[in-house]
């Protein structure tokens, strides 16, 4: 094995320190969430999970309104995922595959929506939704979240589709496929993992979003909106367990999509 130079050593020290900076807070909230309730009020706190217990987590989950809001959050996230893929993926495909007048304009328009604080638009939308009778429903939140996710979905799916060479579809067309058939048999199977990663990210985006959800709902809150609205009146165990609960999907989903990180973000921005 090659002898490690000092710069290699320092590189690894720095790498580990930066990783600890990210991981340690997650570790601490996990320790807190799986401590019994009386330990949570204790001071000084144990830094290691001495007494692992589900008591705190169960307390959170059984608190009134939590389970319903979890269910709503999942429904909203799935709706967002479905609508933004159904609406955005065709546009992504068009941007990736066709050369047509207005293509660049559309692309720039989509990219520049990122310069707008889209969630803030939930305030005027809430007023409209009240008039339409959609206010305080999962649909209203899903519609807003889709608007939030759509530019992202369009750009990501377009880069995912662009990663499949046009030649492959054209080859299929010379071998007897229609354009739709070529998409179905060639592009779709090849882009499925990338599209799934985009979908997962959309799901996380919606699961995490709190401002618009809190504005657009009153009684039918999503999980983050519910936690936010009761946060400052809640006991510590509720807060810690809630924080950890909100964080879990993030950790799991990141594991799934880490291979596509740069497809999702790296290429979107260039």
């Amino acid at each position: 094995m090659r002898r490690w130079s000092w710069s290699r050593v320092w590189l690894h020290v720095l790498a580990v320190l930066l990783a600890l900076w990210v991981i340690v807070p997650i570790y601490l909230i996990a320790v807190a969430a799986f401590s019994p309730r009386d330990v949570i009020y204790k001071y000084p706190k144990p830094l290691f999970p001495t007494q692992v217990s589900l008591e705190t987590m169960l307390f959170f989950i059984r608190s009134s309104g939590v389970l319903d809001s979890v269910r709503r959050s999942i429904v909203v996230a799935l709706l967002t995922l479905a609508v933004s893929m159904a609406v955005g993926a065709p546009a992504g495909y068009a941007l990736a595959r066709y050369v047509f007048p207005g293509r660049d304009t559309f692309r720039i328009a989509i990219v520049s929506t990122r310069a707008f604080p889209i969630v803030i638009l939930s305030i005027p939308l809430a007023v409209s939704f009240i008039n339409l009778g959609l206010y305080d429903s999962v649909i209203s939140v899903a519609l807003m979240h889709t608007a939030l996710a759509l530019p992202f979905t369009i750009l990501v799916t377009s880069s995912v589709f662009a990663s499949v060479p046009v030649d492959l579809e054209e080859a299929a067309m010379t071998l007897g496929c229609s354009r739709l058939g070529a998409f179905w048999r060639i592009s779709l199977p090849l882009t499925l993992p990338g599209l799934a990663a985009a979908a997962i990210f959309t799901f996380v985006l919606s699961w995490n979003e709190v401002f618009a959800a809190a504005i657009l709902t009153l009684r039918n809150r999503t999980l983050p909106a519910h936690v936010l609205s009761v946060l400052n009146e809640s006991p510590l165990p509720f807060r810690f367990a809630g924080g950890f609960f909100l964080l879990v999907p993030a950790l799991i989903f990141m594991l799934f999509i880490r291979r596509y990180l740069f497809n999702l973000w790296g290429r979107v921005v260039r």
């Binding site: 590189l11 997650i26 065709p90 604080p117 005027p124 983050p224 909100l246 260039r270």
Partner: protein, 284 residues
């Protein structure tokens, strides 16, 4: 010259186009209409005046901007360090990248709660400080009387949560810099510091610009972290908008805040694009 017009791409774009008109373009106009029109439908500056004259307005504006000024430089340093580390391919580079990127999927609310668990009086920071003997009794960090401490906590939580996005953009940018350039610089005698400042940073300029714009826009919307860490102790623009809408039930003033955030965002974007114009072309 073209004999046939191909309508396929337009058909594919149509749903997105209409969706964004209805749920992006129209509410944007609606926001200004709400903020600038009275109950009778006439134009008025009353809502704006009410916003500006509100007790919390000044604090919200100052805090929001102070947070941006404090957070962004730290974030860019940390993100650059992470990106350079990942790009230097340490052992387990993939794992490090995953760790660094995890906060990408963590919500601002969850991040706020995580750091609340650390900064609260009976929290982990006090536990650790006392364990190593730096303090004798717990410090109250999140105290209304000490707004600077509260702001610091928010800065740390935001740096923790929102650095990942910059890191990913920078890593992607770094990967597009051919290794030849760095090797050539090394041959001509450039050390690590020179390579970073002379080669990497100038070539990363487009990526830095994109990251800067994205981060600033998001920072103007800072909300849940502030609620979780400061409670009623500090306020920012988005929090005021939320308060006016849900607690005070005045959508007009809330829309005025929304409009203000929008105007600030667009102004900063334009400012960045003008001052940081990249040599070739502006790539947002």
């Amino acid at each position: 010259m073209t004999r046939k017009m191909n309508w396929e791409p337009y058909l594919l774009l149509l749903p997105s186009f209409f969706y964004l008109i209805f749920f992006f373009g129209w509410p944007m106009l609606q926001a200004f209409s709400l903020a600038l029109r009275g109950e009778d439908g006439g134009w008025t500056l009353a809502h704006i005046q009410r916003m500006v004259n509100d007790t919390f307005f000044r604090e919200a504006v100052i805090t929001t901007i102070a947070l941006i000024v404090a957070i962004l430089p730290i974030q860019f340093l940390v993100a650059l360090a992470m990106a350079l580390v990942v790009n230097a391919r340490p052992r387990g580079a993939g794992l490090f990248l995953y760790f660094y990127a995890v906060p990408l999927a963590i919500s601002d609310l969850a991040a706020g709660i995580v750091w609340f668990a650390i900064f609260t009086q009976r929290g982990y920071l006090n536990t650790i400080l006392q364990a190593i003997g730096l303090i004798e009794k717990p410090i109250i960090f999140l105290n209304y009387q000490k707004p600077l401490w509260v702001l610091m906590a928010i800065v740390i939580a935001e740096v923790w949560r929102a650095t990942a996005i910059i890191m990913v953009i920078l890593v992607a940018g770094l990967q597009s810099i051919p290794n030849d350039y760095l090797e050539a610089a090394e041959i001509f005698g450039a050390g690590l510091f020179e390579r970073v400042t002379q080669i990497i940073l100038p070539l990363l300029r487009p990526s830095l610009q994109v990251a800067l714009i994205l981060r600033t826009i998001l920072a103007f919307q800072a909300f849940a972290v502030v609620v979780a860490l400061a409670g009623q102790g500090a306020t920012v623009l988005a929090k005021e908008a939320y308060k006016w809408y849900t607690d005070i039930r005045n959508p007009h003033v809330a829309a005025a805040y929304a409009g203000l955030i929008m105007v600030l965002s667009i102004a900063t974007t334009v400012f960045y694009l003008r001052t940081l114009r990249t040599p070739e072309e502006v790539s947002l």
